[in-house]
Each structure stands twice: as structure tokens, then as C-alpha cells.
Symmetry: C2
Subunit: 334 residues, 2 copies
């Protein structure tokens, strides 16, 4: 991390480092101006215009960055822009592959396009990895040397921080926790393999599981909702209200997440795993279930050596995480 | 790694760095004098006297080290002693926990006991981790930044090298690949959990599997051996001779090892996995089976991004690996 600029003792106040964090998603582009202590100065959210061509898309990002540039007073020094996107990111050019939810991102080399125009450093990384960086610097990972971040959504993403550095792997795919095979010859996953964690513990899997239970004549509050309204967050909400089907679903995904986490702890012997994503807020019991399943499945000698915690940055994980890329960049060559 | 001392240009030949590598096992203590290029200058193997008390045991190690000291001529500079032992090692004191096969090691702080007497640096680490270091510096991992080493024996051990440094984890347990749960509610493992890789792919599991196949009326060359003679190496040998039961056993362990390796590649996106241990020599087809199972189970985008290879150091893995600890120590603070 770059050295924090602190007020000088000669009466001249040094400007504070800030960064723009941009999180590109399928429906919205969220952004924020973030201080080096993780504090958000201002936010802005725009719609992802899927029909845009690449040029219009880049133009909208430049407008966003210029908005923050204009907002930056002399008290602050805007040291960079961090961008997170779903998919596999080439961190040199900023090319994002596999971001199928965001068609205008196809074949765009974000760093090469943006940097010459905005004239400040631009860093691009995978969105789940960025969320883990934010959690490491400003959330539940603060003070630790190692952190695994798991983000649960329609898929399951992950990020890995070892010895205070992001571990990207040789082709920037490290952290594909969602595709750990936890059930041999198990359920079909969107990746084409069978038995992946994602097929058992994503919000998509939660909804499928709830529907199956209802089909098998289990009564549930979920039945009073339109099928299209049933999602991970609703299941969490109803679990908190005592709905048995929803509770079973939460217990099931917690069990499988714990099994996967045990395998990670056996391999890496890390002290903390932060689980985030939309559902983590609504399911206070989920973390007990995950931790107890992880302790059940981990090598007995490793029981109690790790914690499973809720990611703390919540809805701001994406933008704070993206800005964190800027603050961590000094060390990210590792 | 410490800088290689190369011959000076002033006609004075600089001594070459060498290290003693000691590998403590349940039946033998293997040792060697190893050059910084991995070349072995001399070897010595003594019996592990299980009835020894700690003092006698330490005395035998000191005798061994002094033997190499006396052997070291002025052409060489003996820069340290590296020791490998089965179990969990405290790398500060050299205390080895869980080395049940070597009773006199109990409660011995190897570094604290040896260093004041032999007056050169002593480093102690887990034997599977050391084997991975040797493989990284001088074997199949040469030239890579990351390497996972898997050692198959009566148990399954592992070592992790990321960015050219050993990753030990917070309590030195990183690399417990043998206890990755690959079959939920599967076979009982020696650790007390169910479904661990070790319960499916160790040499113990191989022998169990072969016995079960024979019980189920499969004909095998193994039946002409005394049951106590049946071990992993024999099964490999007979598989090479076309024995169908033995071939099935090799294919089965290869399948499960590949599944576990796929999970590791999904998590860490590393380029190479070296598999060693007694059986790897005798089973040339094993590596094709492992690699094909790993490619089948890994995230499709990661297929072909990694290799599964045979560990190259063979029987010398333990002693060269232990000596490698000395050569890598300059960076092992990481």
C-alpha cells in the first residue's frame, strides 16, 4: 500500500489520497469516491446500457470519472481509478473476457482506452477479487495477513489474499471457489461440470432447492409469492420469520459452503474467510451453520483455527473494493 | 535464495555452498551432502532407533552432521543443515508434533538442541513440504513460480510454493491435500473424518481396494503373494504387467487424485503439480489418468492450463528437499 499522506507539522495540510471505485454489473454501474481509510465521500449509480456500443460505453465511464475529478477539491489528491467487472481480466490491458451480462464490455481494453484520456492510473480486476481487497483493507480482514473472500450471488465468486497480496494465479483465474467439486457426479453446474459448489449454494441453487421442497408437499410462506419473486434474499427473509422450507434451504447451503471452506482451510491453513453477497445480510444464522459445517469437515487439528465471518462492506463492497485496487497497487506486482 | 558463490576472476576459487539434508523417517534417517545445484556429494543412511531416548537421538544427529563437517574440504562452504520430519513443525524451535512413527522426536526442539553444538544454521520443516522445495529448485518445478507437490505414501502429504516461496499457513499446516473431502460421507479416513482423498488414493487405500476386488472374485496375480507382501509398489508393478485388478486400482486412485487436483487448480490457478512417493516410479500410466481426470473436473476455461508430472527427485527427494530448505531460507521469511 502506498504511504498514507498525513498532515504535515509545518502548518501545511497535505492533500489526502482518494480513488474512484467503479463496479460494472449487468444492471448498474456503481461508483464512489473513496478515501484511503475506506470512507466514501460520494456515490453515483448509473444504468448499464446493454445496447450501447463500446465507444458509448467507454464515454459513459469517462463522464463518470470526470464527474469525480470535478468534485475533487484541493484537500484531496485523486491518485487513481479502480474498476471491477465480472469475468476474467487481463490486468495489463484491462480486457475483460466472459462478461456476458455486459455486452458493451466485449473486446474492450479498459486500461488502454481510459488511461490516455483521464491521465491518472487505471486498474482493472475481477469484481469478486476486488470485493475481497476491500474486505481485506477495510472490512473483516483488517489486521490479518491472509483472507479468502467468497461472494454468493447467482454464481459463487472468490478472491484470495495471501501474505497481504492478492494471489491471481497464472491466468488470473485463482479463486474459482464456486467450481470446487463437492459432490462427485452431482448436480449439473452452469460451467458444464457436475457437483460444483455453485450448483449447491448459489442463490440460483437456493431457489431451485426451495421449489423442489415445495413440490414435495412441504408447506411454505414462499407459496404466497409469485414464482418470479422468489430469490435468495426472500428465502433469507422468510427463514428469519421461521418458514421451515426457507430454514432448510439456508441450512443446506451453509452445510455445503462449510464443506468447501474446510477443503480450503486444509489446503491453505488461513485464519479467516469472509462470506458476502446479497444474502449474507438477511441470514444471521447462516454463519453459524457454515462455521459448524467447516469445523466438522476440516482436519481435526485445524478445528477452531479459523473464523467464517460476514463480509462487512455490504452493498459498498464493489465500489470500495474497486478503489482498494488503487490503494493496494504498490504491492500488487506480487 | 542466497547468491551463488561463483569462482572469482582473480584466480582465487571461491568455495562452493553446500548443505546437509537430513530426512527423518520411521525406519531410517537418510542424509546427504548437497551442492547448491542439487547435486549430491555423498550420502549416509542410518536406522531410526525407536527405543532411543531424546538425548541419544540428538547425539546420533550430531554425529551425522559432524561426519559431513569432517568430510567437507576447503573447496566447499557448509552453510547449514536442513531437516525434514513427518508431522507439524514449529520452524522457530524445531519442535515436531505428531511424528508418532519416531518416538524419540517427541518434545524435542531440534533447532534449539542442535544449533549451539554444531554452530551452523539449522532449519526444520515438514518432510512433504521439504520434498516440494527440492522439486521446486531442482526437479520438475524448476523455472516455475508456483508448484504444488503431492507425496503419496501410507498417507498423502503436500507442499505449496507460490511466487517462489513456501506457503506455510498460520499454523504450518498448509498443504493438507490428503484431507480434502472428495466424497461427502465417504470412507472413513485415519483423521476421523469421512471421504478424505487419503482414504481413496494413499497406498493403504490401494491395498484395501485391491483386497476388496479380489474378495469380489476378481482374479489377480496379487493372489499369488502373501497378503503381507501386497503394497502400493507391488500393485504398480503388477499393473505394468497387465494384471487387471492392479490396473483398476491405479485407474481409481488416478481418478480421485485428478478430482482433488482439479479443485486445487480451480482455487489457485497454478501451472504444475508434481506427484511423488514410492508408487510414482512404478506407474507410468498413473500420470495420464490423473491429468485426464483433472482436466475432466476442472473449470472448462482452465483445461490445459496445468500439467501433472512425476516428481523427479525419486528416492533422494527427502534429503535434497531438506537441503533445499537451507538454500531457500534467504526468502523463507515470506
Amino acid at each position: 500500500m502506498k504511504e498514507l499522506k498525513t498532515p504535515s507539522h509545518k502548518g501545511f495540510i497535505m492533500p489526502k489520497n482518494i480513488a474512484v471505485g467503479i463496479d460494472i454489473g449487468g444492471t448498474h454501474i456503481k461508483s464512489a469516491l473513496v478515501q484511503e481509510n475506506g470512507h466514501i465521500l460520494s456515490k453515483k449509480k448509473i444504468h448499464t446500457k446493454k445496447q450501447d456500443d463500446s465507444k458509448e460505453f467507454i464515454k459513459s465511464l469517462i463522464d463518470l470519472i470526470n464527474h469525480y475529478k470535478n468534485e475533487t477539491t484541493g484537500d484531496y489528491d485523486l491518485i487513481g481509478v479502480g474498476i471491477g467487472a465480472p469475468g476474467n481480466v487481463n490486468r495489463e490491458s484491462g480486457l475483460v473476457e466472459g462478461a456476458y451480462n455486459v455486452p458493451p464490455l466485449q473486446n474492450v481494453q479498459l486500461i488502454k482506452e481510459l488511461k490516455p484520456i483521464i491521465n491518472i492510473p487505471v486498474y482493472v480486476d475481477n469484481d469478486a477479487t476486488n470485493a475481497t481487497k476491500g474486505e481485506f483493507l477495510f472490512g473483516s480482514g483488517k489486521g490479518y495477513d491472509h483472507l479468502i473472500g467468497i461472494t454468493i450471488g447467482t454464481g459463487i465468486g472468490g478472491g484470495i489474499i495471501l501474505n497481504r497480496h492478492v494471489f491471481h494465479g497464472i491466468t488470473n483465474y485463482a479463486g474459482e471457489i464456486g467450481h470446487m467439486i463437492i459432490i462427485k457426479d452431482g448436480m449439473m453446474c452452469s460451467c458444464g461440470n457436475r457437483g460444483c459448489l455453485e450448483a449447491y449454494a448459489s442463490t440460483t441453487a437456493m431457489v431451485d432447492h426451495a421449489r423442489q421442497l415445495i413440490k414435495r408437499d412441504h408447506k411454505s410462506l414462499l407459496q404466497s409469492y409469485n414464482p418470479s419473486e422468489i430469490n435468495g434474499e426472500l428465502i433469507c427473509k422468510l427463514a428469519n420469520e421461521g418458514d421451515e422450507v426457507s430454514i432448510t434451504v439456508i441450512q443446506t447451503i451453509g452445510y455445503y459452503l462449510g464443506l468447501a471452506i474446510a477443503n480450503i482451510v486444509n489446503l491453505l491453513n488461513i485464519p479467516i474467510i469472509a462470506v458476502g453477497g446479497g444474502i449474507s445480510d438477511g441470514a444471521p444464522n447462516l454463519f453459524n451453520v457454515i462455521e459448524s459445517s467447516a469445523n466438522e469437515h476440516v482436519l481435526p487439528k485445524l478445528r477452531g483455527t479459523f473464523q467464517v465471518v460476514k463480509a462487512q462492506l455490504g452493498n459498498d463492497a464493489g465500489v470500495i473494493g474497486s478503489a482498494s485496487t488503487v490503494f493496494m497497487e504498490g504491492e500488487s506486482a506480487y
